[in-house]
Symmetry: C2
Amino acid sequence: MSRPKSRAAAFQGARGAFSEEAARKLLGQGVEVLPCERFEDVFRSLKEGRAEGAVVPIENTLAGSVHENYDHLLNFELPIVAETSVRIVHNLIARKDVHFPEIKRVFSHPVALNQCLDFFSRNPQIERIPFYDTAGSVKMIVEEGLTDAGAIASSVAAEIYGGRILRKSIESDRQNFTRFFLLRRPEYARRHPVPAGAHVHWKTSLVFSTRNIPGALFRALSAFALRDLNLTKIESRPLRGRPWEYLFYLDFLGRADTPNAKNALNHLREIADILRVLGCYPRGA
Amino acid sequence: MSRPKSRAAAFQGARGAFSEEAARKLLGQGVEVLPCERFEDVFRSLKEGRAEGAVVPIENTLAGSVHENYDHLLNFELPIVAETSVRIVHNLIARKDVHFPEIKRVFSHPVALNQCLDFFSRNPQIERIPFYDTAGSVKMIVEEGLTDAGAIASSVAAEIYGGRILRKSIESDRQNFTRFFLLRRPEYARRHPVPAGAHVHWKTSLVFSTRNIPGALFRALSAFALRDLNLTKIESRPLRGRPWEYLFYLDFLGRADTPNAKNALNHLREIADILRVLGCYPRGA
């Protein structure tokens, strides 16, 4: 008997995607999951109660911030309650009865194929074939019974679809990490507050906008610097169609409900046109 | 007779990729191009003289900054001499004798397919098939003579491979722009300086690092704020393995060789551990 879908964590991608790995890290191995086609569907599933949590990537060490998800955070107003970071490890996976010398072609998402170019240079006999997603390529080769083919995906995908890992960690760059947020509905976050003392380190994420007059950001940051609040992220994003206005993403160390942070946020409100706290959560590993 | 390869502009991707569109915008429609498999190959081609210019994406309005190319900018020390912004327009392209009602399947890079989900929702009879890249999918359907298939790619790809655009601009989000840099070898940039008076607006791009003591960034930005220099980009990037150190990407309006900007850079040097000016170039449209 499966539990009702509303207990599930929504994520974008197929079963076994790296977002599912993040969901398991955040919510435990046994978490029920709700795979969605688009990021917008992930937010909508949580908002409308088809899921109890949502796990979304927010930045990657090679590819940068996922602006689309910042937009959804602003639009859906679903608070961040936790963060985690997942190392993107690409594995060569095949059916359980297939051995490495038999592999003639490898299926995966083109981004994953491109992140394994050193492996393909060392193995020129293997053809690269683009597929819709990493985990889905494992499902396909297993279900179709392909005996000359492999797929590149996470170890979770190998486990879910009954594949075998032939080569671990074949990505060219090991410094490939994605940071994920866990979101809840506002009511849930209010009913289940994490006690302030339970974690030493907290982070608060916020978005604010300023008009780009010289020094506007400088004055905005003074709200934190004057109170010895340490930033862990700052990023500007031009507002399209408003060439002199900017949106800023900012994370600082600390809880938003301490007197010091409250003063900083009040100070920032004097300077910023828009200010939205996206969430306050224990700092991830 | 083609000109020698060393006159070419290198870019990552197949002929007709959006980077080629950027290369044409930056260097004229007739520019000779050198497609490369990886970003690293693009930088190497320029460094080693197989190309005279390199065109690389640096940030996208939905997907964020391309950290990989910032790393290559730091490692290869090839100066930025121009910038441009290209709107990512996805077109449905087919062979010239094929009409829209005949289309049963559409090939493209999964990222492009995913950016056209509204089109596929409106046309559920059409199957989506992942392909290695956008432009390459046009080449394939034309060369293979497929009469029930389309591809999603740039208009440049339709032109290069002799396809016909059946539906223009089928992307769900029109606010999809990529910013590109044009790079040259340092000698070339020195021999062909753009005169200071030729453009009203200049931008300077730089990278610097600070130790993350509270207020370090605030002090770094004071170098610009105290001199009324306007920032157009600021972005932090944690240095992996050094959890308390950060790299910052910063663009400011102005030429690096004016007295005011020189003072700001000298001031910043007092505060930053590393400071590298990546280039100074006329502001793009």
